[in-house]
Structure formats: structure tokens, C-alpha cells
Symmetry: C2
Subunit: 370 residues, 2 copies
């Protein structure tokens, strides 16, 4: 019998809820001893760390007898609790909280492994990135973050395998945002020129369908894509200072940059967006004149040490132009793969597929700790 | 310091040579103590199991002083040697030998982990498949075989992650042979109808370029694809008896099935193949009438428990039709991914990329054994 492994989970939003459902069905799942949402924490009582918490939605979990209940705990308190468990422990961070991410080194130095879809720890300043991996080595702990790029698609693991086996990654290119994929696949489809919809109408439709963040500017500013490119560039060996250290083309019209991020501001932004439809129509029509379509892509040129995020034109028969729905596509050009890249494609957003990446990482961490 | 891990490698052909070059550059590589080719074996002397063998081409390795040299050893002898090493050990099988593959359970029961691109162990009779994984569990040893399908492309690992995290894989479909991919991409390209080349000319060209097996019938009979489909279907949960337990369309004309597999037979086969060009032209033209192209694909329908390998027609704007060179493409349709599959695409053959899958597996096994 392998020694028991203990698990803390923070975040019970869309990804967190899907993750708990998947965790409940995992064979050899670690014992859930901490489950936290923003203002509340459930804990298995010390010093026995039993009973464990059922992997279920928050209400069911909270109704379990004998658990200790508390308000929000600090990262230091959580680390102290997990590191005192009678076995190795893992923290799954299903939030997008930058403060929690900046505490990863604290967890790792105490031997607590980290599994997370939270991009913040890996895409903020380079010092934190280095500190995370140094702390993991010091604490003999593991860090897995597949779902930080492309959700459950095998992107991070593939890039790490290419690098670890000595391939030379020359270029990474792709569509890294499900939201922006949907917007451009709808606005400027490769098959048949969708005569109709204006840019602002497509954005409004995506917002209604729940494909955008509550404030669509959080997608349109390109920062989410920039964070993903920062992570990939760093794994490929580039010392990128942060997501603002390279050119990122924002799709927010300059004139609307000052509209506040409040609920009223969002309404005002959506109301004024049609004024700028002409700009996007011009971009689309220019591409069409060249027999191409416009897409919002990110790229890393490893040799030139260049990272860029923004609009680019693609041949209509290219894989990027042919993307459907809100799919992501990621192409790895390497020395071994030659002219035709290694391509990974599919849904890159959504609770279930993001949680799948987290669950698959968790399985691998458990296998390595056993 | 983690305990040392010991490595035996069998096979120094194309994949084996590329693998040894990659092994030489791996940080934390296990200690190579056995290197074998068909009639010769190099061993680190017992009982110290030092010095280790340099990861290099056969001639360099064989010139290393102090090694024990021997003829071919039996699987039992190799297992006895590896299992007596003063630490955990791993066997990398870079052959395509069915006899060695049928001995995997012997190695695994003695605690020796297996890493291999050799399809034979996983695609022959179902009893061997079951025995391999039962033996791995008994011996607390690991089995990794990413390169058995799609070479270094993340195919096996992706499918295992989908299954392990509880997704429901409904269908797997793709082009699984680099050779057949090249033949059909050249014979019936999606962009522009290549007026010219006849089927037999394309086969001859592929043979000259070294894209086919020495006997092209080993590609044209579809058995290599059938073995890959057997492996994927089994991981997806189907109890497939073997690669001959489902329909496999052979591209060898019936009239030429009796031509012997000798050097003279190969010459005769290539000489008589043009007699049958009309058949393939008819297939191609029928597809073109429907605005489609013909491709040689494999598919697993998990719900219907159906596996098939053979010719199929595809829309010209489909991802399969647009494949280039000798690329593979594998689409996973699952409950979580919905209408748009998770797709992996890229070179699925070649020494370097096949060895990459082996090296990446080896890294993972070492990480789990440490």
C-alpha cells in the first residue's frame, strides 16, 4: 500500500466544480482535507486529518459532519496545515488569484506540490517564475500547470517533452483564446464571406452566449493571450520579463480605453463599440483582397527572441483559417519536426476540459509522489 | 541524491541510434548497463555494474574498455542481469521483435519497467496485452509506449489522460501511417487535382525516397495501421482480440497477393503494380465526382465497438484532406470536447521523432521510479 497523499483544493467556480466532479471518480484519488472558497474553508480536523472531505459541490461538502469550518485562511496558514499532514500533500489552485499564485514558493519550499490552471504565477514577473521552480527543487515538490495554456489540450506537456528530449523549438504559433477564436471565425469565416455581421454585433453575440469574460475588454485587450505566450516562451527558454514586455495588439478602440471597468462602464463600452465597426471591417476587407482572412494570434520566434500577440492574415486553406467554433490551435515548429509543425487543436476553454487538464496533472503528481 | 536507476537498451537501428544520441544529452539519465543488437551484447561487468556504457553509436560503445561482451542473450538472461542491478531498472526495446515483446511480462514481474516503440506487445493477441499490464502491477513496474502510435506525437498519453480523468471517448479517427499519408496526399491532393501521377508511380516514388518499408506491401496491406488501431481501441476500453479481428482493407491487388516476399518478389510486385492502376484511378475519380478526396484511415467507434481500417472519402476542406507530406492526424471525439474533436497532427514516422517519444517516456519513468 502506498502512503496516503493529502489534497487541498481552493476555488469552487466553474473549473473548481468540474474538477471536484472528476476527482470524485478518480481511482487512487488523494484524500481531500482542505476545500476553500473566497470566504470559507472546510478542513479535516487535526491532528488525525480525518475524516476526509467528500469530493462534491460546496453545499454537499459543507454539510459533512465532523469537519472544521473557518473563514478564509492565509496562504501561510494553508501551507502550515497541509505540510503537517501525515504524508505528502498537493495544493490544487482553481482560482485566478494573483496573490495565491505569488505564494506558490511558500508551499513548494514546504514540500507541498502545486497543480493549477491559474496563469498568474507563471506569467507575471520573471522573478516569481524563477522563484517557483527554485522552490520546487528545494522542497522536492512538483509543479504542474497544463491548463494554463489551451485548457486540457496537451500543450505544456508537449512543449516540455520537446525541450527535455533535446529538440530545438524554433517557433510556436497559434490561436490561444477561445473567445477571440469564436469572434474571428464568426466575423471572417474562411468558407464563404459572411456578408452580414458587424464586429460589434459578433462581440455582443459572444457576450450573450457567455463566451466572453463579464467585461469583454478582458478578452479584447489581448492580455490573456499575452500571459499564455509568456508561459510558452519561458518554457522554450526565453527570459520574458512579463506579459507587457512584448508587443500586444489590443482590440479595444483607443477612444474607449478610458471607459471605466464598472457595470455601467461595460454597458457604455458595448453601446459605443459600433462606432468603430468601420476599423474592423477595413481590416477584414484588406485581408479578403489578398485572398486571406484575419485572425488574432500569438507567436514566439525562439531564434529571434520575439514574442508578439495581435492580428495577422492567413491563407484561407491554412489550418488557422479553418478553425471552428471557439477552438484553439497551437503549432510547434522544431528542428526534428521540420517543415510541417506538430499541431494540437481543440476546445481551449470551458470548465470540463480545463478541469480535465487539472485532473490529469493531479494523477501524474500522485504517481510521482507515490 | 536519488538512488541510481539502471538501463538496458536493445536495438541500434534507425530509432535506436537516434535514441542513444538523445540519451547522451539527457540530464539525470539512468546508467546504461546493457546495449544489445541482434547478435551482440555489451554489459557492464557484474557484480559492480560499473563502468556504465556510453550512450553512443554501437562502434563507440563497443570500443569502451572493461565492458563484458557476449553474443545474443535470451530475454530470461537479460531480465536476470537487469533485475540483479543495485537499483530499479528499465528496459528500452527499440526493436520490432515480436519474441522480445512477448517476454515483457517476464521483465515486468521482476520489477523491470518497459519503454518501447515496438507495437507487437500491445497489438498482438489480447491475452498478451492483459498479461503485460497484470505483470506490471504485480512487479510494481511501469510500461510506457507512446511511440507505438504516431511516433513522438502525444497520442497514447492524450488518450490515457482522457480515459483516466473520466471523459467518454466516443470515436477516434485519423491517418496513422506516414507512408500511406504520403501516397494519398500525392496521388489525390485536396488542392488542385494532380492530373499526372498514376498510383503505381506514386508507390515507386515513395519506395525510392525510402518512405516505404523495403517491401511496400508491408505498408499497403494495412496491418501496421491495424496494429495501431488495436492499441487505441484497447486503451479506449474495447476488448479487441487482435489486428485481424476487424475489417482491414488491403491495397495489395488480390492477383498479386501470392507474389512471394523475396527480393525477386518485390521486383515482380512493383513491375506488375501498374496493371492495377485503373482500380485506384476509379476510386479517386469517384471521390472527385462527389467533390471529395480519398484517404486511407483508421477509426474506432467505441459505442458500436467497431474498428475499421481502409479507404474513405473526405470533404476537400476537411483536416484529413488537407494533410501534407507524410503527416499523421488523429482526432479524438469525446463527450467533453463535443462536436469539435481534440486533434493531434504532425510527423508520425522517422527515427528522430520516434526516438523523441521513447526518450520522453523514459524521462517520465525515471521520474516515477525516483
Amino acid at each position: 500500500m502506498p502512503a496516503p497523499i493529502y489534497l487541498g483544493v481552493i476555488g469552487v467556480g466553474g473549473v473548481g466544480t468540474s474538477f471536484l466532479a472528476q476527482l470524485a471518480r478518480l481511482p487512487n484519488a488523494p484524500q481531500l482535507i482542505l476545500l476553500a472558497r473566497s470566504t470559507q474553508t472546510l478542513l479535516s480536523p487535526t491532528p488525525s486529518y480525518t475524516p476526509s472531505i467528500p469530493a462534491a459541490d460546496w453545499t454537499t461538502a459543507a454539510a459533512t459532519p465532523q469537519l472544521t469550518k473557518s473563514g478564509a485562511l492565509s496562504p501561510d496558514e494553508i501551507a502550515a496545515y497541509l505540510s503537517s499532514a501525515p504524508g505528502r500533500s498537493i495544493l490544487v489552485d482553481n482560482t485566478s488569484d494573483p496573490a495565491l499564485a505569488s505564494s506558490y514558493p511558500t508551499f513548494l519550499r514546504q514540500g507541498i506540490s502545486i497543480v493549477t490552471p491559474n496563469k498568474k504565477g507563471f506569467s507575471s514577473d520573471l522573478g516569481l517564475w524563477k522563484n517557483i521552480f527554485a522552490a520546487a527543487a528545494e522542497g522536492n515538490a512538483l509543479v504542474y500547470h497544463e491548463s494554463t495554456v489551451g485548457a486540457g489540450l496537451p500543450v505544456i506537456s508537449t512543449l516540455r517533452d520537446l525541450v527535455a528530449t533535446g529538440d530545438e523549438v524554433t517557433r510556436i504559433e497559434g490561436v490561444f483564446s477561445g473567445t477571440l477564436s469564436f469572434l474571428f471565425n464568426t466575423f471572417a469565416p474562411a468558407a464563404g464571406s459572411a456578408a452580414g455581421a458587424k464586429w460589434s454585433e459578433v462581440v455582443a453575440q459572444a457576450k450573450e452566449l457567455g463566451y466572453t469574460e463579464p467585461d469583454p475588454r478582458d478578452d479584447l485587450n489581448g492580455m490573456d493571450v499575452a500571459r499564455k505566450l509568456t508561459i510558452l516562451a519561458r518554457i522554450a527558454g526565453l527570459e520574458v520579463q512579463g506579459p507587457d514586455a512584448f508587443p500586444v495588439e489590443s482590440l479595444i478602440p483607443e477612444e474607449l480605453a478610458g471607459v471605466p471597468s464598472t457595470a455601467e462602464g461595460i454597458v457604455e463600452f458595448m453601446k459605443r463599440l459600433p462606432e468603430f465597426d468601420g476599423q474592423m471591417t477595413a481590416v477584414k476587407e484588406q485581408a479578403e483582397k489578398e485572398g486571406k482572412v484575419v485572425r488574432y494570434v500569438g507567436s514566439v520566434d525562439v531564434g529571434k527572441k520575439e514574442v508578439r500577440v495581435g492580428l495577422q492574415k492567413f491563407d484561407k486553406d491554412s489550418a488557422i483559417a479553418g478553425l471552428k467554433g471557439s477552438d484553439n490551435i497551437i503549432s510547434f515548429y522544431t528542428k526534428r519536426y521540420g517543415a510541417n509543425p506538430l499541431i494540437v487543436q481543440g476546445a481551449g476553454a470551458g470548465g470540463d476540459v480545463t478541469a480535465m487538464g487539472v485532473s490529469a496533472d493531479l494523477i501524474k503528481v500522485v504517481q510521482r509522489l507515490q
